[in-house]
Amino acid sequence: MTLLQGVFVVTALAAVISAVMVVASPRLVHAALWLVVTLGAVAVLFILLDAGFLAMVQVVIYIGAIAILIIFTVMLTRRVMADSGPQANRAWWLAVFIGIVMFAALLALLAQMPTWWQATPPPLAASADFMIEDLGKSLVDLDRYVVPFEVASVLLLAALIGSIVLARPPAETTGKTGPE
């Protein structure tokens, strides 16, 4: 086992264990913090996969925005959170079953790939700087991914507007907010 493999195993274990804690932890704030750990571990995996840019973006977006938002929501809805009743629903055994079946099925499917045991990735064609540049260009290149990119931007805009609309207080209270 090389150093890299060791790093991977440690990270992967961290990811899986914290992921289990995410779904198992009775206190939601802890679950959210475990989620942060998982996401951080995934960021490390991205670095191992030579995608440093993605790793940073992962930290910025997931930990910096999504996880914070989730924690925020958890805290805002704390009154029901405080009673730590059963966190799993009645059909949790079905969920476990589906999860296990899905895992097995996925592995069975993936194991059929000819590259399943490919141990070493092919060398990268270009330097990291060039890769980021190429990534940026590919997102605005008409022949490549400009359409998904634009769709994603429209989606973000829609999400922005949608969350503002949802978060607005009901109409009768808006009048009370004074002229600021």
Partner: protein, 102 residues
């Protein structure tokens, strides 16, 4: 070096744990966290396949970025929905939010 399969197994595990979270948890926020786990698993797959199979094409990374965008919008709208449901009905338990039946 690390075989591709390790990444795939890890991603599948994360995906299924997330799936359990989505299906088995009662709290809507916890369900959202499960979805985030699943999306992360997808991203690991995308990047791993890119690195091992087609490093010359940037598609894997490009689509991982788009998955980020989707995840961000999903979190924003989903959490806004949860808060607004919480305001209306004082609950975030998914089983109790069943107005849309019959």
């Amino acid at each position: 070096m690390i075989p591709l399969s390790w990444y795939l197994i890890l991603a599948a595990a994360l995906f299924c744990i997330g799936l359990y979270g989505v299906l088995g948890r009662r709290n809507a926020v916890a369900i959202l966290m499960g979805i985030e786990l699943m999306l992360n698993a997808v991203n690991i797959n995308l990047v791993a396949f890119w690195r091992y199979l087609t490093p010359a094409l940037i598609a894997g990374q490009a689509f991982a970025i788009i998955v980020f965008a989707v995840a961000a919008s999903e979190a924003a709208v989903g959490l806004a929905l949860i808060i607004s449901i919480y305001r209306q009905r004082s609950t975030v338990i998914a089983e109790e939010i069943d107005l849309m039946k019959w």
